[in-house]
Symmetry: C2
Subunit: 368 residues, 2 copies
């Protein structure tokens, strides 16, 4: 968050055996020729498009014997730069969304493929995208949701790597390296810990591996989000802090509810205090998302956005000491940066905060 | 098997981080002053008796959220030699039986406790002894048996270590070392691999960690058993090999069935060819057990036995070229070494091959 915070945890040294030399592929990964200055997106989108789609039959339950059902896990392979001699395999440990979307948004792997002579594998996480253990019934009830755990997902990855080593002979003795971001970065790190014989290392980007109860103070995440806006301009974070009370004051009666609905161009008008709470939650999540995708180049991950989108948002929050209605107008302008960079939006839809490629059904369950 | 085959796999080097020095407790473990010549059991049985019994509330399912049931896992603590300063914790990863029985038969831990200033913890494996996830219903059907896996057992151990570190402050920063034998040795090794942050090392004794399909030829185990008897005397293994046909010839009719039943002093007479097959399986399992407990001192693990019991058994198999009835008599004498060393047995019971402390219900399920 904030500047380009790409937390790289190179877990190569969790290897069995002391003083085993770092494999060449991992050494190469550490010495990659990456520019540290980004003014534009470093990789052209077009080069991501060449992958083949595959499916592997996976057990629904890796840890018990009673449920003997199976499902198809989707995975993608891009082998344009792969070399059978001296090559390596970068294995993306899929997280909470459609794997094709992650594949198209993980430029790092595509950027380094040629240098590492690497095959790229993108494995979809169970209960996301097309990898649904019980098809349309996957989210029906707790019985069907029971197999949505990180442990089961890691076991899927292990089975997939076993399958690849078996069916692609030249890959058998090549180093596999787990790569993931965010929750997927946690998975990459955990995969290296739990299956140390399957990958020689793991690269965990932006992975909050310690963000658990009793490990970090529970308010830390939101403090960092606030700091990102404050760093852009102290008046920006102050304006946002003031905005909650302003919304509260403006929505005390039905006239106010209509006024706010119109000022924010909401697709569905606010009807009551419950809707107002929903509005506040939605706006807060928008600022959180902006902190997560505050890339230094134009991008299209959660939404199409300009470079440094927080800077652009904060252009609209220069003065915190304005009237409530003026602040409301500023909120609308700021929300527009996130929801209407393309200029196509007719109204703002409170039921969405990001791309539908993220699997909200599974993620709501995993997070809470 | 055979001589004192105590396969020690010191898995200390599966540690995160290269070139981390071996912790003092593990160094001490490698340098222990153990005699290599045993003429009598190295530890007096009496010294094993001082332990306290505890229970920890464990989740029935560590890998899903649907089943929120709990059960009490039993564990034992012996802390006579434990020192809060510079001490360590030896953690026995319980296997397929009553934990008190294992506690009383794991002399190694008691022998080294003083030198390592160690607390001894013996954790019972779920579905064995008193640690039954569903009480009397634990083996009722596949729904109840579903949580009997090594993965769940390892997770129990991890929760127990977390609990001990939390509730025994002086133990928090002391090194934990996993110790186990046989299947429990596999668990100790796997525990070090899957939970590298919880134990600084593992000692896996007599642990067939590679004995899986496609990893070792499937006949290897029985070949080693045969070799143990052959090493005692080639005539011994030859006699046993001949005995199967002899039994077959002797049990062709009802007279023969009675004759064999009487000669072997069976508690229940043989009635048909199915009983004869059962007899052969029972005798074969007896030889297998003898190979597993061929200790160089008098012992009482699976059964009360003399030192080097295979040598004693083979005293009765000196000549393979005897008549079928004479060979039958020799089999009886040999079986007596295993089933009647105490001289108390009135007849030989084909429904038992070892102590009832082993959990046959769970083990039959885990093995097949």
């Amino acid at each position: 968050m904030g500047l380009l915070v790409l937390l790289l945890l190179l877990l190569a040294f969790l290897m069995p055996g002391v003083a085993i030399p770092v494999p060449p592929a991992l050494r190469a990964l550490s010495n990659l020729h990456l520019s540290t200055k980004f003014t534009s997106r470093p990789s052209a989108v077009t080069k991501y498009s060449k992958y083949s789609i595959h499916y592997l039959k996976q057990k629904v339950d890796h840890f018990g014997f009673k449920n003997d059902k199976h499902f198809n896990q989707r995975y993608l392979i891009a082998d344009q730069h792969w070399k059978k001699e001296g090559g390596s395999i970068l294995f993306y440990t899929g997280n909470e969304g459609d794997i094709i979307w992650f594949c198209n948004n993980t430029g790092f792997m595509w950027d380094v493929a040629e240098e590492l002579k690497a095959m790229l594998v993108f494995a979809e996480h169970r209960y996301y995208g097309q990898s649904l253990p019980f098809g349309a019934n996957s989210f029906k009830d707790s019985r069907h949701m029971n197999f949505l755990t990180s442990e089961q997902a890691l076991a899927d990855f292990a089975e997939l790597i076993k399958h690849l080593k078996k069916t692609i002979p030249a890959a058998k003795n090549q180093p596999f390296i787990a790569v993931g971001g965010s929750y997927g970065g946690m998975l990459a790190a955990w995969f290296r810990m739990k299956y140390p014989h399957m990958v020689v290392g793991a690269l965990a980007a932006s992975a909050p591996i310690w963000q658990f109860e009793d490990m970090v103070p529970c308010g830390v995440f939101m403090e960092i989000v606030t700091a990102d806006f404050r760093r852009s301009s102290p008046n920006c974070s102050k304006s946002i802090r003031k905005s909650w009370d302003a919304i509260h004051r403006l929505t005390r009666n039905s006239t106010g509810l209509n006024l706010v609905s119109e000022a924010l161009h909401l697709c569905t008008s606010l009807k009551n205090s419950q809707d107002v709470q929903h509005l506040k939650d939605w706006i807060a999540e928008t600022w959180v998302n902006l902190a997560m995708v505050d890339y230094p180049y134009e991008s299209n991950f959660l939404q199409p956005l300009p470079a440094w989108p927080i800077k652009v948002v904060c252009q609209h929050f220069k003065n915190p000491n304005v009237s409530d209605t003026e602040l409301l107008q500023n909120i609308f302008s700021a929300l527009n940066v996130y929801y209407n960079y393309s200029g196509q939006a007719k109204c703002l839809n409170m039921s969405e905060t990001s791309t539908s490629s993220l699997g909200s059904m599974g993620w709501s369950y995993q997070q809470w």
